[in-house]
Amino acid sequence: MKFREAVRDATLLAMESDPRVFLIGVGIIDPRAVWGTITGALEKFGSDRVVEGPLSESALTGMCIGAATFGMRPVLIHHRIDFTLLTMDQLINHAAKWRAMFGRQQTVPMVVRAVVGRGWGNGPQHTQSHHALFAHVPGLKAVAPSNSRDAKGLLLAAIEDDDPVVYIEHRWLHEDEAEVPTEYFTTPLGRAAVVREGTDVTIVAVGPMVSEALKAAQALAQGGLSSEVIDIRTLRPLDSETILGSVGKTGRLVVADSDWGPCGMAGEVVARVAEDGFDALKARPVRITWPDSSVPSSQAIEAQFYPGAREIQEATIAVFEKVRSAGFVRSTVKEFEGPF
C-alpha cells in the first residue's frame, strides 16, 4: 500500500468506526482529495463530516478545539505545514494548554495533518518542516511516520489519542509502498522503532531521513560497519529509552533530521544522550540536519540543500576514523515533479 493510500485507509476506517471523527480543512473538497489521501470520504460521509473550510486557518483550528471539547474528534488538514504557522496561537496558546489550564477537566482530542513539501522550486514558504516547533510545546504531541504502515497506524493512534497531535506528513513519502495490514490497528505513540539492528553505531532518523539512513547503513555494512537505525516515529513524547538502550550498546550516535538544526529534534536527541547516556559514548555525537537557511527555489542550489544517505554515511564514517567504505550511496528519493 502506498503511503498516501495508507493515510486514506486510516482516515476512512476512523470515520467508519467512530462517528465523532470528522475532517476539516481548506480545499479538502477539491476533486484532488488532498493528493488522494481522502478520496471517497466526501461521497461516503457527506459534507457534515468532510467540512470545507474558508481560508481561515486560525478560526478552523479554534473550531476544532471547541468541537473537541464537546466530544468530537476533528482531523484538521493543511495542504502545507507552512500554513500551521497561521494557527500557532490556537495550537499553542489554546489546544496545548487546555488540559493543564483547567486542572485536567477537559482534553482536546484533535489531529492536525500537516504536509511537508519539497522540490520543483517550491521555495522558502512551501518547503518548511519546522516540526521542532511542535515538539517543543508541552501539551502537544507530534508524530512523523516514515513508511506506509506507520502512516496508517500512527494516524489511527493519533485520532484515538485524547491530546492534540500534529501529524507530520512528508509529501515525498506519499508514493512509497510497503506491507500494511488491512484491518484497523494502531502504532503506539511515544515509541521509536529499531528498523535495522546493529552494533557499531546508532543512527536515529526522523521521517524521510529513515530511508536515507537505511541506505547509508547498507553501504556502511559493505565497508564492515554495523549500524543500528532507529526510526523516531514520535517526536513528542520522545522515546529516550529506546535510543539510550541502543547507544548503550553501540556507544556512538548519529542523528539525521529533516528540519533545521538550531533547537531541533536532532539537538534534543543529542542532549538527552549526553545527559543520560554520557558514560556509554565512545565518540562525540553527530547531527545531520538541514542547512541553517530557507530552501531556495533555484534547482541549482535546491539540490544542495537536502542531506541524504551520502551525508549520513560521511558523518558516520567521520565518527569512525578507520573504516573502509564500499562507496557512497546516492539518494534515490524520487523527485517531485511540480508544480503543485
Binding site: L55, S56, G123, P296, F305
Partner: protein, 317 residues
C-alpha cells in the same frame, strides 16, 4: 490627475495587457522543457486588473502583489529579463534564484516582494502607507489579493487600521471566484467582497475587472483619494483565471468548473474587451515588439549563470 483616457493611455493599457499575455503564453509554451522549475500561477485572464491599476500609479508608488504576480510585475515596469531569469532559477533573477515565480520583486519599479501565503502582504502595504505618511511623501501603496484573502483575519485587521488612520493604501481584490479549486459559494457567507468596506467606513466598489479602462478609472479615483489624505478604498474587480490555479494546463476535467464557464469568460476577456483601444496595425506592431523583448528575456535567462551557494541567503543586492 485626470481619469480621462487619452489615446496614448489607451495604447499603454493595451500594450501592458498584451505584454503580460504574451509573456505568460511564452512561459506556458516553454514550460515543458523543464528549465523553469517553480510553481507558475499564470496571470492569463487577469490582465486588465494589473494593467489598469498600474496605469493609475506612479513609479514611486508601491504595489504589493500576491503569488499570481507576473502581471503586476510587468505592468508596474518590472524588469522582464530579471523576471525570466528568476523563473529559470538563475543568479541574475530578480530574487537571485531564491524565490522562483511565487516570489518576484523589483524595488526600483515599486514592485514589492510577493508571498505564497494568501493575505501575506496585505498588512505590509499598510505599513508602507504608514511610512509614506511619516516621511511626508504622497506616494500610495496598492495591494492585490484574490477573493480567498478576505477569509484571512489579517485582511480585516489591516482594513480596520488603514481606515482608522486614513492610510494611503488601495486594496485591490482580484475576484476570480475560486480559491485554488473551491468556488466562493462554499467559502463566504456574503460574497459581495466590496461591501466589507462599509464596515470600516471606507469607499468600496465592485467593477468589471476585464475592462481595463474601467479598472483604470476606478483605480485612479482611489489613488486621488489616497494621495489627498482621504484614506483607503476597497476595489473588487471581477475577473477570471483561464488556466489551472498553478500550472500551465486547462483543468475543467477536474470537474469543479465547466469548460463552458471557462470559454464564456474567455470570450469577454480583457484583451477581447480591450481590442477597441488600438488599431489592428498597432496591435500587430506591439505584438512583434513584445515578442522580441520576450525572445531577449529568454535568451538572457538561458545564458545567465546559476547561483552556486546557499551562503548567499540574506546577502543584500
Amino acid at each position: 490627475m485626470s481619469t480621462a483616457v487619452s489615446t496614448e493611455l489607451k495604447k499603454k493599457l493595451f500594450y501592458d495587457m498584451l505584454l503580460i499575455r504574451r509573456t505568460e503564453e511564452r512561459i506556458k509554451s516553454q514550460y515543458h522543457l523543464r528549465e523553469m522549475r517553480s510553481p507558475p500561477h499564470l496571470y492569463m485572464g487577469h490582465e486588465a486588473v494589473a494593467g489598469g491599476v498600474c496605469a493609475a500609479l506612479r513609479r514611486d508608488d508601491a504595489v504589493f502583489p500576491y503569488y499570481r504576480s507576473h502581471g503586476w510585475y510587468l505592468a508596474k515596469g518590472g524588469d522582464l529579463n530579471a523576471m525570466m531569469a528568476e523563473l529559470f532559477g538563475r543568479e541574475t533573477g530578480c530574487s537571485r534564484g531564491w524565490g522562483g515565480s511565487m516570489h518576484l520583486i523589483d524595488v526600483k519599479a515599486g514592485v514589492m516582494g510577493t508571498s505564497a501565503i494568501v493575505g501575506g502582504t496585505v498588512s505590509h502595504a499598510a505599513g508602507a502607507a504608514l511610512t509614506f505618511r511619516l516621511q511626508g511623501k504622497d506616494s500610495v501603496a496598492a495591494v492585490s489579493f484574490g477573493d480567498g484573502a478576505i477569509e484571512e483575519g489579517v485582511f480585516h485587521e489591516t482594513l480596520n487600521f488603514a481606515a482608522l488612520r486614513k492610510l494611503p493604501v488601495i486594496f485591490v481584490c482580484e475576484n476570480n471566484l475560486y480559491a485554488t479549486n473551491t468556488h466562493i459559494q462554499y467559502r463566504q457567507a456574503q460574497p459581495e467582497i466590496y461591501r466589507h468596506a462599509e464596515r470600516f467606513g471606507i469607499p468600496g466598489l465592485r467593477a468589471d475587472g476585464n475592462d481595463v479602462v474601467v479598472v483604470f478609472q476606478k483605480a485612479s479615483e482611489a489613488v486621488i483619494r489616497a494621495r489627498q489624505g482621504e484614506g483607503p478604498t476597497l476595489l473588487e474587480f471581477e475577473t477570471y483565471r483561464i488556466f489551472e490555479h498553478c500550472g500551465i494546463n486547462e483543468d475543467h476535467d477536474l470537474g469543479y468548473r465547466t469548460l463552458e464557464e471557462v470559454r464564456g469568460w474567455q470570450a469577454k476577456g480583457p484583451l477581447e474587451k480591450g481590442k477597441h483601444l488600438v488599431t489592428q496595425a498597432e496591435a500587430k506592431q506591439m505584438a512583434e515588439e513584445i515578442d522580441a523583448r520576450i525572445d531577449r528575456a529568454f535568451e538572457y535567462a538561458r545564458s545567465s549563470p546559476w547561483p552556486t551557494s546557499l551562503a548567499v541567503e540574506g546577502a543584500a543586492r
